[in-house]
């Protein structure tokens, strides 16, 4: 009952496909929940309607995105077993409890208070509602922490022993398991990525409305301006910080997974000083990177922060321990390239902001609009780099992917793969359409006395009900 190579490949493609879809939603939820908590906090603190309008606008998006995250995440919790049962059997003693803690500390918290956050404004006080929003946001962050601890452990395993009889991984120190060498770097890098993803979605939404209003000769409403400004602040601060975090993560990878770095860089010979290959096509067969455009010394400078530092090459590692360099080489460069564009956009916005022209530049608005998916693309490319870079292992250096796969036969795999592709494109395609339609509406911006939260202050019960109706977008 050994699955053949095609079944293994299908198991991998299926997992990559489902997790690739899934990761978009939690990243969106992590960033958006934090943004919503900030908006509601600002509303409670300043009493300015504009924050409430933005809160009501984005919470509808959040409900949609969170729902898609829940259902696509449920698939993940079971795919570890359906596709990777040998991995689960060998490493379940370590990854299982981590997943258990994720459910106990994060999933229940998020799902429990989401109901109050979405539907509770008419039923609980403002303070309690704000608390619910904060708890949901904290839940998304805790969830990210646990799953990254688990993922990082697979990249840089620590705190374990291996049972000589069964070959199972046994926990020795839970502290070392959780705080394994790559965990802090991955946590910061991913957290920042989630915030950046949402910053660019929010910014692009604002830019879209500014451009459309300009075309229609309408003045730009206050909520749109506020979200444009907030998003570009985030981009200007987070994007450079992310470069720093990514650099540190890279150094960590160099130390613990040098073969991955060599594959990312398309370097075959270990050299010092090493040049940086700006562009090229790594060829696994000829062990050479074709058409390489190199910058002397840059490779050493980036990876070792010195001009002559020694950088590993793929030929240092046996052929059956190399990750596929062509994939990593490009996914890594797309991620870094987009990061560079984000930093430039942030700087540009700062320049215009200090000249007092932040809202007057159609060029900046167009650029922000075009950059809408940049966060998500960079995020996916980053994950492709780190996950494909772990190959041919599931637990780096210890358990091969081919020894992790389930004894599921090819016909079942083909059936499920087809079903996943059809269902995901249909369901999440529909989800995207709904999302775009929601985003194409402007946030409400009326400031009159009939405004819901004024009513809320006057007559709590009545106003709050209307507010809750407004929140769900169902006011008729």
């Amino acid at each position: 009952m050994v699955p053949d190579a095609t079944a293994l490949m299908l198991a991998r493609i299926q997992f990559a496909f489902t997790v690739g879809f899934h990761i978009i939603f939690p990243a969106f939820s992590i960033g958006l929940a934090a943004y919503l908590a900030v908006l509601e906090g600002l509303w409670l603190k300043t009493g300015r309607n504009v924050y409430l309008h933005l809160f009501k606008y984005w919470i509808k998006i959040f409900a949609l995105v969170f729902g898609m995250g829940v259902v696509s995440g449920l698939v993940m919790a079971y795919e570890f077993g359906t596709n990777w049962s040998l991995f689960s059997q060998k490493a379940g003693a370590i990854t299982g409890p981590l997943l258990g803690y994720e459910v106990l500390t994060a999933f229940f918290l998020e799902a429990g208070f989401l109901g109050i956050m979405l539907f509770g404004l008419g039923r609980v006080g403002k303070g309690l509602h704000f608390l619910a929003t904060c708890l949901v946001s904290i839940g998304t962050l805790i969830s990210m922490t646990w799953i990254l601890a688990s993922n990082s452990w697979m990249q840089t395993p620590a705190g374990y022993t291996i049972d000589p009889k069964t070959g199972h991984f046994l926990p020795k120190s839970w502290f070392e398991v959780i705080f394994n060498p790559s965990f802090p770097y991955r946590l910061v890098h991913m957290g920042m990525a989630a915030f950046i993803c949402v910053a660019f979605v929010v910014g692009a939404t604002a830019a879209f409305h500014m451009l459309r209003d300009r075309k229609n000769g309408k003045p730009v409403s206050e909520p749109v301006r506020v979200m444009f400004s907030m998003a570009l602040w985030m981009a200007a601060i987070a994007a450079p910080f992310q470069l720093l975090a990514g650099d540190m993560h890279g150094l960590n990878t160099l130390k613990y997974q040098p073969a991955k770095i060599a594959a990312m860089e398309g370097d075959w010979e270990s050299e010092g000083p090493a040049s940086e290959i700006l562009f090229g096509i790594p060829n696994m067969k000829t062990e050479h990177t074709d058409y390489a455009i190199k910058i002397p010394y840059a490779g050493s400078l980036i990876l070792t922060h010195s001009l002559n530092g020694k950088v590993p090459g793929l030929k240092d590692f046996p052929k059956d321990q190399r990750a596929p360099s062509p994939i990593l080489f490009f996914s890594f460069r797309i991620m870094v390239g987009l990061g560079g564009l984000m930093i430039l956009l942030g700087l540009w916005s700062l320049l215009l902001r200090f000249r007092g022209k932040l809202y007057n530049s159609p060029a900046l608005q167009w650029a922000t609009l075009v950059m809408a998916p940049s966060g998500f693309i960079a995020l996916l490319c980053g994950w492709i780099t780190t996950e494909v870079g772990r190959q041919p292992y599931t637990i780096y250096g210890l358990l091969r992917t081919s020894d992790s796969v389930s004894p599921v036969m090819l016909p079942s795999m083909i059936f499920s793969m087809t079903a996943f592709v059809i269902v995901y494109f249909f369901v999440f395609g529909a989800g995207m359409l709904i999302l775009f339609r929601m985003l194409s509406h402007q946030p409400s911006s009326h400031e009159s006395g009939a405004d819901p939260e004024n009513a809320l202050q006057n007559s709590h019960a009545k106003g709050a009900t209307r507010l809750a109706e407004d929140l769900s977008g169902k006011r008729s």
Binding site: F66, G67, M68, V70, V71, G73, L74, V75, A77, Y78, F80, G81, T82, S85, L86, S88, Q89, G92, A93, G96, P97, L99, G100, V103, L104, T105, F107, F108, L109, E110, A111, G112, L114, G115, I116, L118, F119, G120, G122, R123, H168, P171, W174, S406, V408, M409, P411, S412, F415, S416, A419, V423, V427, I434, R466, A468, E469, L471, G473, K474
Partner: protein
């Protein structure tokens, strides 16, 4: 085997059983709402039906993730045998849950009547198919999974059998009953009257299903039959379970007549609890019948201990705020309630 090695898996088996039962009854009633869409075409009623569960469904479904995590964390061998063995029904279940899960938001956001209708149907079909698959998974597990040395060595369709199909059907009836019990409790007027009619019909049907499964299960394997006939404690348990189920039946049908709001739902819960105990007693101490016991399937002591500490502290907290959140949304839901 030390005392720790004996008792930790027992504790975890109980916790897993409780977790799965909580999942079954919580997601049971909201999947049941989807199943009831088959007999409720009125869009306004459908709105109300979904409104009663909209604030709680994702919390309910989280218990399923909890079940998966507990299985992986505390019984890694069970997880890595059961999931590949029941691959097809599990994958279909997950895909169905996707359809019904997104339907909550998609249906509300739909701009045309057709789109609204489409996502209503997705909710109905997804809920029903997911339930049916859960039933076949249960049936497939009770049928037994072919293993050699803690590895699944059967084939892809081993679970497919009249018994597992019947279990799938029975669970659809059962969840439908939980759903109608929930509606009797949480709605009023015409919709509540409809739910009462549905509950009467589904309740009678479920009683038949329970009886069939109770007779059929011991006949599946000689070990089950042996368990039930050769142990006096099991014989006593069988009689007690049967008597209780009949008492619940009397209460259930009387409460439907006398117009009580909450009793039908509680009776449905009781039936689920009793059936669950019966099935657990059949399988005990096997977590993957017929070969793997809870001790053989257990993760190492250090993993079970680590997870148990967290569970002991956090699970009561989770239960407390889950109950609190349910209480916030208490009371009758009507079509004039604005939240979706």
């Amino acid at each position: 085997m030390t005392a720790t090695e004996y008792w930790l898996p027992v504790i975890w088996a109980c916790l897993a059983a409780v977790g799965i039962l909580i999942y079954v009854v919580l997601d049971g009633f909201d999947l049941g709402i989807g199943i009831l869409f088959f007999t409720q075409k009125d869009e306004e009623h459908r709105d109300v039906m979904m409104n009663t569960i909209a604030p709680v469904w994702d919390g309910n479904e989280t218990w399923m993730v909890f079940g998966g995590a507990v299985l992986l964390g505390a019984f890694q061998t069970a997880y890595s045998v059961i999931l590949p063995a029941l691959y097809l029904p599990l994958i279909v279940m997950l895909l169905s849950l996707i359809f019904r899960g997104v339907a909550f938001e998609f249906r509300v956001q739909a701009h045309t009547k057709e789109a609204r209708c489409l996502w209503g149907s997705a909710f109905m079909a997804g809920s029903t198919l997911a339930t049916f698959c859960q039933g076949t998974v249960l049936g497939g597990l009770l049928l037994g999974i072919k293993t050699t040395g803690n590895h699944f060595t059967g084939s892809a369709l081993d679970w497919l059998n009249p018994f597992s199909i019947f279990c799938g059907f029975a669970l659809v009836v059962g969840y439908g009953l939980l759903g109608s019990g929930w509606l009797i409790w949480r709605t009023e007027g015409e919709l509540q009257a409809y739910a009462r009619r549905a509950a009467r019909c589904l309740g009678s049907l479920l009683l038949v299903c329970i009886a069939v499964v109770a007779v059929w299960t011991p006949m599946l394997r000689s070990t089950y039959l042996h368990t039930w006939t050769n142990s006096s404690s099991h014989a006593v348990a069988a009689v007690v379970l049967a008597i209780l189920a009949i008492l619940v039946a009397f209460t259930f049908f009387r409460s439907l007549k006398s117009g009580k709001d909450r009793t039908p739902f509680l009776c449905a819960l009781a039936w689920f609890g009793l059936s669950y105990v019966g099935l657990a007693l059949s399988a005990w101490p096997y977590i993957v019948p017929p070969y793997i016991t809870i001790w053989q399937a257990s993760s190492p002591v250090s993993s079970q201990t680590f997870l148990l500490i967290g569970t002991a502290i956090l699970l009561p907290l989770v239960l407390a705020y889950t109950i609190y959140c349910y209480k916030i949304f208490h009371g009758k839901v009507t079509s004039s309630d604005g939240y979706h």
